[in-house]
Symmetry: C2
Subunit: 574 residues, 2 copies
């Protein structure tokens, strides 16, 4: 089944959910006119369908391979990556000062959405480059920016984020990688990092690693960390990749999915010859890391949208094609396409509604990046609040939709050749990396909620309530407010115990608000009648059926931690 970019939904969401017109009204984003948005979405869609989607299966079945000489991507990936760079698809959101187009982050996200729906594993590579660009834009020296940003902005070089170490999964304070000063802002880097996505590959002639490490005498914990720029090949006096910088890819992980993305163990300075530069202040590593990670979290939420889109397209095509069994209750005993059976159609409607809801949530959050960049401090606060929702709920929905996609295929869904299983396997990492979804939930009920004593959430809830019309949606919004009030007064353990159900409730509340609006607009809009009718139906289904489901989480969100600790750890093995 050929991949088709979801341009109609993207355009709709950008216009009515993100309200990209507000952005285009600013000087900075004046280029983001409807015509340009249309051209970018259509162009990216054609590129992704033509160049990247055909490689999705080889990405899974062949996968990235470790060799003595480094990681080798499957046949075709190198050329397809070059086409991506040459097509300028990496430059959409990159800074104008360094050769980028400086268009809104949310439009770059839409392009990534399309690329990742075509080939999720491959699209992770440019996703990570975005994080490296952000770190250097905000924390790099002018020299670092001049040397590295132009080639990161186009994608000629790719970026990585090097946080995790074997002994310290999500606990960055426990990192041990060391940086010893060599003078002239040169540091000798030594240590091992794990789970480095695209930590090595043969797509480009250099890779820019951003590495958290500890300087001599630095305090323990996160305060002792600094961020270092460590290229795979040091730049020569012309700024070209020169000497190998002693960054060795030790192995890649044997993962359940996302095989196109090499997950590397990187060893820095095995031969004492790995040189890095400090990015930002010494001891400022965590701040710089959060700059990288925040937008990366949104982009991981976007991966949920990508995989949901891909799984839905595949399931719809299969269900329209597969003829089996007469319609129950029908006079005719002729078999029909399975999409005509009510429960299959319910599954497909759920896939459509959840995919559109996830897209609305993540794009809406991404739009706040741009509003914040225009100086809107409330948008920055709202972005901070929504980031854990977009990451966690976006990826939860990607997993749910990919699983339903298998179910729609029946027995064929379990056979690898069909491709539905790949989406299910690929999706499963997204609730884990870039901060597990549990960590997102902790972030929500911790810093994001208490930071301003619930003020940012209260403003969001007021806006949602002002627009919501459905009684069930209003009930969910009220419930979110109740739980938020409880959370603000609760002990830390109780907050954490209810954090995940609360995150889900609130996410569905936000999605319900945006979907209800979308349905209302679609019902009265001019345009492709099939798309608009589907939008209206998916929105109705979401509000009428998925919103009430989330209300069922209220008891868990309000529950105290006590039941969890009623037994000790050993009893769990009894």
């Amino acid at each position: 089944m050929p991949f088709t970019a979801p341009t109609a939904d993207q355009r709709f969401v950008l216009e009515h959910v993100v309200r990209i017109g507000d952005l285009a009204a600013s000087d900075r984003f004046a280029d983001a006119t409807p015509d340009l948005v249309e051209a970018v979405l259509e162009g990216a869609g054609q590129f992704a369908a033509g160049e990247w989607a055909p490689l999705d299966r080889a990405g899974d079945t062949v996968g990235a391979k470790w060799t003595e000489g480094g990681v080798v991507m499957p046949d075709g990936f190198r050329a397809a990556y070059r086409a991506y760079v040459e097509g300028g698809w990496g430059t959409i959101g990159s800074p104008v000062d360094f050769g980028g187009q400086g268009l809104p982050f949310v439009l770059a996200a839409a392009v990534l959405d399309t690329l990742g729906a075509a080939n999720m594993g491959f699209a992770l590579c440019p996703t990570l480059t975005v994080g490296a660009i952000e770190a250097l834009v905000h924390h790099g020296t002018p020299e670092q920016q001049a040397q590295y940003l132009p080639r990161l902005a186009t994608g000629e070089w790719t970026g990585t984020m090097n946080l995790t170490e074997p002994q310290a999964g999500s606990d960055v304070g426990a990192l041990r990688t060391r940086a010893e000063p060599l003078g002239k802002d040169r540091w000798a880097i030594t240590g091992t990092k794990i789970y480095i996505s695209f930590g090595d590959h043969n797509l480009t002639d250099n890779i820019v690693h951003l590495v958290l490490a500890r300087t001599p005498g630095a305090p323990q914990g996160t305060k002792g960390l600094s961020l270092f720029l460590v290229p795979k090949y040091r730049l020569d006096t012309d700024g070209q990749p020169g000497d190998f910088n002693d960054v060795r890819v030790v192995s890649i992980e044997h993962k359940m999915g996302l095989h196109a993305s090499p997950t590397c163990v990187l060893s820095f300075g095995d031969n004492g010859d790995c040189i890095g530069e400090l990015v930002g202040a010494e001891g400022g590593g965590i701040a710089a890391m959060f700059t990288m990670m925040n937008n990366a979290r949104l982009n991981v939420g976007l991966q949920g949208v990508q995989v949901a889109e891909a799984a839905t397209q595949k399931a719809v095509a299969y269900a329209r094609d597969r003829i089996q069994s007469a319609r129950a209750g029908s006079a005719s005993r002729d078999p029909v396409a399975i999409i005509e059976h009510p429960d299959v159609r319910r599954m497909l409607m759920r896939m459509k509604a959840q995919t559109q809801a996830a897209r609305a949530l993540v794009y809406y959050a991404a739009g706040q990046v741009d509003r914040a960049a225009l100086g809107d401090s409330d948008a920055k606060k709202r972005l901070d609040l929504l980031t854990p929702l977009a990451k966690a709920h976006g990826t939860d929905l990607g997993n749910e939709v990919a699983s339903i996609g298998i179910q729609v295929h029946g027995g064929m869904g379990y056979i690898e050749e069909t491709g539905a299983a790949q989406h299910f396997r690929d999706a499963r990492i997204t609730p884990i990396y870039e901060g597990t979804n549990g960590i997102q939930a902790a972030d929500l009920v911790g810093r994001k909620l208490s930071g301003d004593n619930g003020g940012t959430l209260a403003a969001l809830i007021a806006e949602m309530r002002g627009e919501a019309q459905d009684a069930g949606l209003i009930a969910l919004i009220d419930a979110c407010e109740d739980v938020a009030r409880h959370m603000l007064a609760a002990e830390i353990d109780d907050r954490l115990a209810g954090s995940y159900p609360f995150l889900t409730m609130l996410s569905v509340g936000v999605c319900g608000w945006l979907m209800e609006r979308s349905g209302r607009i679609a019902s009265g809009a001019q345009g492709d009648p099939a798309f608009l009718a589907m939008k209206a139906a998916a929105a109705r289904f979401y509000v009428e059926q998925l919103v009430p489901e989330a209300l069922g989480l209220k008891a868990a969100a309000l529950a105290q931690a006590e039941v969890l600790y009623a037994v000790d750890a050993e009893a769990f093995a009894a």
Copy 2:
């Protein structure tokens, strides 16, 4: 992490949920004394832990292999299967007249639970043999029973179910495999069957295929189907496997999981030399098939319990072992085992509660098989009602728990070497085979509900309401009654549109009823304090947090089909 059979929970569920004492009070099951139950559970647990669990990983990584000479199981499986036969583990529930022990079906299910928790793919093999035994006990001739049952009863030979064909997935009426009479109840079988689990292997010296086929002049649809017994090797005059019966394994599927179970394409009669015998009446294939499938459906629900148990054990062990990050809000900054973090503990509590709930549901339904066998006609009706719940909800829970298991492991969960991913992949077939979960939901709101105008459900609900104490649980029971009333009056499309949410609600209602009782008993019981405290906590968590979640499904269960058909099939691709 070594596997430990869940004998404490099994014993508890058999005593307090199944009330196996009622069965032991009958002449037929008088042997099922507490001492014997204990001995069986303990013995099976030691056997499974010692012989089958160590092969689970090779089952996945090596898997069953197709060769010219037939399917070859990974090293060790043949010996481990022989040990199973020699230990008498196949005989627990087999008929006494044919060398079985004639113990309750539910006790045999408990043994399968243990075997499958140790090695789910492997345990599917004896699970299928159970179906073949059932078919022959109820529909076979005395000669067929004498020839085949003694060796099926011990597991010396294995059984298969041959339903599906390439053109007819769940639509058995569309089957084309033919049976031509050769005289003397010999029939020439010709056709191709797909998705035949353990359709070939090298574990035993014969395989007994039960094959749905169409006789000459038979009517179209399901009424024209008959069931045939087709051994891989025909029996010689001594009843020993003799000539090859022209049943060829064409290929095995490349599946996402359950690699230890060869999923075969079988070709019958390529050389015109495949001979079968009729089982039951000509045209009675569907009735005989349902005999096979009904208990098979329970046993697939049991696979959900198996994989949930395995995933939970692995996650608990990991979470107790893995030290990371200080406890939030704690004065100490020392890192703790992640089981101490509230959201991790919430995940583990959910895994424990859902696993125990799934076990309670499936065992409770399995107990109705035995009550029905003792002549209790209400138990037979309750069994029929509960079978789709046990199959669909049991497998849904298996999938949910396996997914949480990955999440508890963090990044390690996505690495295949850890083993958590295997459970996730293995589990995903269970909502599909033996009738997709959507088909189970249709069965519930169709035949099972309307068959006696809701009388069987009303009786169950009355019993649940009579015992339930928690207000939320009573609210869910009331909601199930409301939805059932709606379903009985609704058009077929509307019933089907809400069937899956209703199945889930009702399943959670039944689980909630049984878990609440279990918690009450555990709180006052004598025994292992750690086990009883965990049981009480899991029951409380289930009733307080998971029951309210299911109440959120009421809107979807009552929703009409109209929203699903508001757009036509093409619009789903718009």
